[in-house]
């Protein structure tokens, strides 16, 4: 699992590459924790190369989304594949995120 964070003014792009399963989520959560501190900008979660997500991965997404909501920021999820879209559907995440 690899995460690439790119900051461009107040737009932060987080690119996920690989499988965001339980062990990977533990690492990724640590990496993304600092972003929540000043979550007043726009986050783009680029999932083009995200193959798989488990509930622990979803927790990271939801946690960031909540932080952004409090601080007046925005989270956009981009390029999710069919399997992940299905997971989003099962968990009601389609209604919580702006999906592109």
């Amino acid at each position: 699992m690899e995460v690439i964070i790119e900051k461009n003014e107040d737009i932060t792009t987080v690119k996920f590459i690989g499988r965001l399963d339980t062990p990977a989520s533990q690492e990724v959560a640590k990496t993304l924790m600092p972003l929540e501190r000043d979550a007043n900008g726009t986050f783009i979660l680029d999932c083009e190369e995200l193959e798989y997500i488990s509930s622990s991965g979803l927790r990271i997404f939801l946690s960031l989304r909540k932080a952004a909501a409090v601080k007046g920021g925005n989270v956009i999820v981009r390029n999710i594949n069919n399997s992940i879209r299905n997971v989003f559907l099962m968990t009601g995440f389609l209604n919580l995120f702006e999906i592109e």
Binding site: P23, L62, K66, S83, T91, N95
Partner: protein
């Protein structure tokens, strides 16, 4: 000195008499077992006979209806033609001729008109019939006073039976003594009024050949009766068509049975009854042919049914006699040996010699050639018995019959000579009872019944009996208070058992049977408490733990027994053997029962192990060609369920194991996740409300939610200190073949 000698002689003679007495007891025991055997054999052979009789009756009925149907169909097909010809009276002649000409089975036909249908001809019935040899067709009119067709059964019944009527059989007048019957049915004109009856005469010569084929036993025979009881088929030819069942049944002594039989025949019942006569009786099976009102019967003299079994029983008796004769010879030989040794040695020595012989006799009762079935590739076994004294009360036995391996192990309470006699009895009973029984429960019930009856010494026998279907690995077993056998699959564990009661304690006790399926490379280890309760000099017991540890390493059956025995031997050291020790190891090697669609993964309680779970699911997905999206969903559900166990079942810092078993069936995938952690039921957690707004959504709880969403069935149980979570996913039946 002289007195001493005569005393010894008396002692010797007394022993010979004791031996003789034992021989008589043995003879009585053998007799009892063969009686039991005879009873069961008789029961099953009667059932077979009745099944055969019923099948034969059914077949004969099908054959008969087949022929009669052809005639009915032919007439039905020609009805339209008769109707069309009614307005032009003279063409009716042609119709009758046509029916006879076109249907080989029909030898005569008429169209007999209702009296007065044609105003100018009160009676009109043109009749055509053919010479069966030359095929030449002759015509004549049946409308003449002496014959008076409107009074004939074929006419009166034909008028009222819309779908046709088969007349009573009759003998062909003038055409030899051929049995005939007539099929008749009404014909309506275009106004819908019944105008006439059309008939077909057929010969019933073929009936005899149908019943000639029904020979179940050399002296069984068949009979056929008409609706009114007329004898149509009988082994006594002179009765045929001349007498009725009512007349014949009067000549039998067993009037009650014959009355029932006559009534059953005339009212068209099916069933069976016994008719006594002379020393024996006959079994009579009967069934009706509803269409014609006929009734078929098969009579089987009981002696015929029992013939084979009696022959068999005589053989058994012969063998028993030979066996007893041999025992007698052994006894005499022993007696002679004793005499010889007597002169040379002390009393004790003679006793020992006695016991050595007894041991030889006892050991010769138990199968001891290993491997026992060298020609078979599907089963291997080994057994070992080590009596604590010269003779013992332990036993084991096995044999293969009808592709089933019957096996048992047992331990008679007490040891030495008394126990050894009960052991011999138990083993003989097992053989005698299991000849006719496939159910361990029935075997054990019957053995318990006999042992309880004979039990005046208050002995008991712990006993385990199994019947393994070698073709499919289905194992049925029944435990009578014996040590729990060990089953070696990919783990080593106790076979789940209901302990029931030892044999010989309570008569009528109904033993509970259990079953399981074993597959290729599974094995079973049976033992008596001589293994686990072997004592060393400090009076410590060998125990189950040591035994199970040895079984963890897979060896051949022989090597297994040697390994366990050596380990017991080392443990016991210098201490004397306290109890008989017996072991039986069965290795199932039927390659056809390799289960390719069953997998197991064992994980530690470490999140890092999730990667292995992913590989495991991917491996299964690949093996069964699972759709990648479905595989991913399943992977997700499993990951969530296993993560739950890793996080909650074992307290922080403790090590634990999690087993994931996958079973793939044609239409479903089933995963069982089990762990020995603290009780935790994930299905008891509340449902997540996915419709809540962002600020109300809790962060957690999604894992089990996904498991529920993805899987079709999720169930949890706590059993034997284990959490067992079962996840089932239905997959399309054609899955795999399409991908």
């Amino acid at each position: 000195m002289k007195k001493d000698l005569s005393l010894k002689k008396t002692a010797l003679r007394r022993e010979l008499w004791t031996g003789m007495l034992l021989l008589v007891v043995a003879a009585l025991t053998l007799e009892a077992t063969s009686l039991i055997q005879y009873y069961f054999a008789q029961k099953s052979i009667t059932e077979i006979a009745s099944k055969r009789a019923e099948d034969n009756l059914e077949n004969a009925k099908v054959d008969i209806l087949n022929i009669l149907n052809q005639v009915e169909t032919a007439i039905n097909n020609d009805i339209w033609m008769v109707r069309a010809c009614i307005p032009i009276r003279d063409t009716i002649w042609k119709v009758a001729e046509h029916i006879v000409k076109e249907n080989p089975a029909i030898v005569g036909s008429t169209v007999a008109f209702v009296p007065g249908y044609y105003k100018d001809r009160p009676l009109f019935s043109p009749y055509s019939f053919k010479n069966t040899e030359t095929g030449e067709i002759t015509h004549k009119s049946l409308a003449y006073e002496e014959y008076d067709y409107p009074t004939k059964q074929w006419f009166t019944e034909g008028l009222t039976h819309e779908d046709g009527f088969w007349s009573e059989p009759y003998l062909d007048v003038g055409g030899g003594d051929i049995m005939m019957t007539t099929f008749s049915m009404p014909v309506r004109d275009y106004e819908g009024t019944i105008a006439a009856v059309v008939t077909a005469d057929i010969s019933l010569g073929w009936l005899k050949s149908i019943f000639d084929d029904v020979i179940i036993y050399p002296e069984s025979f068949s009979m056929l009766f008409s609706r009114e009881g007329k004898i149509m088929i009988s082994p006594v030819e002179t009765l045929v068509m001349h007498n009725t069942i009512q007349e014949v049944s009067k000549q039998f002594k067993d009037t009650a049975a014959m009355k029932d039989f006559t009534e059953a025949v005339l009212s068209g019942k099916s069933g069976n009854l016994k008719v006594h006569g002379g020393k024996s009786f006959s079994n009579v099976y009967f069934a009706p042919i509803e269409r014609t009102g006929w009734s078929m019967s098969i009579v089987i003299p009981n002696d015929q049914i029992m013939g084979d079994i009696r022959k068999h029983n005589r053989m058994v008796w012969l063998f028993q006699f030979v066996g007893l004769l041999m025992l007698l010879l052994i006894l005499l030989a022993a007696h002679r040996n004793q005499k010889k040794y007597k002169k040379l040695s002390e009393n004790e020595e003679r006793m020992e010699q006695d016991l050595v012989i007894a041991r030889e006799i006892q050991m010769s009762m138990i199968p001891k050639t290993f491997p026992p079935f060298p020609e078979r590739k599907d089963i291997d076994l080994a057994a070992k018995i080590v009596p604590a004294k010269e003779v013992g009360g332990d036993l084991y036995d096995y044999f293969i019959k009808d592709e089933h391996l019957y096996f048992c192990i047992g331990d008679v309470s007490g040891k030495g000579v008394p126990a050894s006699l009960v052991m011999a009895m138990t083993r003989s009973l097992f053989r005698a009872v299991s000849v006719h029984e496939k159910s361990p429960r029935h075997i054990v019930n019957a053995m318990n019944e006999s042992l309880t009856d004979m039990n005046e010494q208050n002995f008991f026998v712990t006993f385990f009996c199994g019947v393994l279907d070698l073709s499919n690995g289905h194992l049925r077993y029944c435990n009578a208070g014996h040590n729990t056998p060990i089953i070696l699959t990919d783990t080593v564990k106790k076979l789940p058992i209901v302990s029931n009661l030892p044999l010989g304690i309570i008569p009528d006790f109904d033993y509970q049977e259990q079953d399981t399926n074993i597959i290729y490379d599974d094995a079973m280890f049976l033992y008596t408490d001589g293994v686990t309760e072997a004592e060393n000099v400090d009076h410590r017991l060998y125990g189950e733990k040591r035994m199970e540890d040895i079984l963890h390493i897979r060896r051949s059956p022989q090597d297994h027994l040697k390994a366990v025995y050596d380990s017991v031997d080392v443990f016991v050291g210098e201490a004397p053997q306290s109890d008989d020790l017996t072991m039986l190891f069965i290795h199932f090697t039927n390659e056809a029962l390799k289960n390719p669609s069953q997998w197991r993964l064992t994980l530690r309680n470490d999140i890092g192990q999730i990667d292995r779970l992913t590989e495991f699911i991917e491996m299964i997905a690949q093996k069964i060609n699972l759709d990648p999206e479905l595989a991913m969903s399943i992977n997700l559900a499993l990951e969530e369920a296993v993560t739950n166990v890793i996080s909650y079942a074992y307290p922080e810092g403790t090590e634990g194991e999690i087993k994931v078993d996958a079973i793939v069936r044609k239409d479903s995938l089933r995963f069982t996740i089990s762990d020995f952690g603290q009780e935790f039921d994930p299905t008891a957690t509340p449902e997540v409300d996915t419709s809540l707004a962002l600020e109300d959504r809790p962060i957690g709880g999604l894992g089990i939610h996904l498991v529920r969403k993805i899987m079709d069935r999720v169930s949890y149980k706590r059993q034997d200190d284990m959490n067992i979570l079962t996840l089932t996913k239905t997959i399309r039946e054609d899955n795999g073949s399409n991908n």
